[in-house]
């Protein structure tokens, strides 16, 4: 990898760092997710700058080109983040359902049009 390419990666990583921190500041991104992206950025910079590390890693797992190892790692990390996001989304959907049910049960109406008494939620968790 040429020095220019390395510089490009570092610049992109620094840009990402600033964007991620700005998003945390504005409340657009939870710190929990920011930590993941900051770790990804730091890992990428280290692998690109410390070339022997990448070469030794490639040798250990039997890949000839360091670039291929970098792509493999990148894909694995992206898959991991996607899986984590799916899990978060699942939990969020479940909480949303709990919320919708709780609100609905507080708005019960009886047949004569009068508001009914709220039903105690069942807590079947």
């Amino acid at each position: 990898m040429t020095a220019a390419a390395q510089a490009l990666v570092v610049v992109i990583a620094l840009g990402a760092l600033i964007v991620v921190l700005w998003m945390v500041r504005r409340g657009l991104l939870k710190e929990r997710f920011a930590l993941i992206w900051l770790a990804v950025g730091a890992g990428m910079v280290v692998l690109v700058l410390v070339r022997p590390l990448l070469d030794r890693l490639s040798e250990a797992i039997g890949i000839r080109s360091g670039t291929t190892t970098l792509f493999l790692l990148a894909i694995l990390v992206i898959l991991g983040i996607l899986l984590q996001l799916s899990v978060s989304l699942t939990a969020l959907e479940e909480r949303l359902r709990d919320l919708a049910e709780a609100i609905a049960l507080d708005r019960v109406r009886s047949p004569d049009g009068e508001p009914g008494s709220p039903i105690e939620d069942t807590d079947d968790r």
Partner: protein
């Protein structure tokens, strides 16, 4: 002490064994008590109501910060000018609430009950974490506070309305970040020594998760989130 405009808020998550005592003792001080049941699966809400508290039930667990903000919003909506937060696990003596209110009378908008005044003992890792947090707070605010993670606090207007609008939900957010938010609004912060009861219920947070909480807080601090939230 102006009791008319003061509400005691008790966030509670599965604290059926202690919440009744807390409410009784708060009522004995002569203040109204709001228990915010943060999605408990035990009898917390029933015990609190039986003991004489107003009860708000969160349909899902939102964390201490979420429960507190619901309490702050209730307080503002119902015309209370001051609130005191008290833990439901009997760690905070409700009898010391008037001391916190006295600090508000003296001009503070945020009064923090410090547990170290009474020989509060914690483990080594926890003690270093608390010292680190106290150091960070001192660096950012210039105020020397012994016990920045204490959840025994009194808040008055106009800070109360800021907290009711935006308040961190995460662990350490409701304590450390809240102090930085208060400082960013220009509110005076003071510390009040309080006697400390040993934690009777619940376990201290495991160290791995505590490390995660610290890492999250550091990211929030580097990003400058508390001062942005206080705007």
């Amino acid at each position: 002490m102006d009791t008319e405009a003061t509400l005691v808020i008790v966030p509670a998550f599965d604290e059926q064994d202690s919440v009744g005592d807390v409410v009784h003792r708060v009522r004995a001080v002569g203040l109204p008590c709001l228990v915010v049941d943060d999605g408990s699966v035990d009898a917390t809400a029933d015990k609190a109501q039986a003991a004489g508290a107003i009860v708000v039930r969160m349909p899902v667990n939102t964390g201490v910060g979420g429960a507190l903000r619901a309490g702050f919003r209730y307080a503002v909506a119902h015309g209370f000018r001051r609130v005191v937060q008290v833990d439901a696990d009997l760690q905070h003596p409700p009898e010391a609430v008037p001391d916190l209110l006295a600090a508000l009378d003296a001009g503070a908008q945020l009064a923090i009950g410090s547990r170290f005044a009474d020989g509060y003992e914690v483990g080594t890792a926890r003690r270093w974490a608390m010292r680190f947090l106290a150091f960070v707070v001192r660096l950012r605010t210039g105020v020397m506070l012994d016990d920045v993670t204490s959840g025994f606090r009194a808040v008055s207007e106009p800070l109360l309305s800021v907290f009711a609008y935006r308040f961190p939900a995460e662990y350490l957010g409701d304590t450390v970040e809240a102090i930085l938010m208060a400082h960013a609004t220009g509110a005076a912060i003071s510390q009040v020594p309080v006697p400390m009861a040993p934690r009777r219920h619940g376990e201290a947070t495991p160290s791995l998760r505590a490390g995660g909480h610290l890492a999250r807080l550091v990211v929030a601090l580097i990003a400058g989130k508390p001062s942005e939230m206080a705007r």
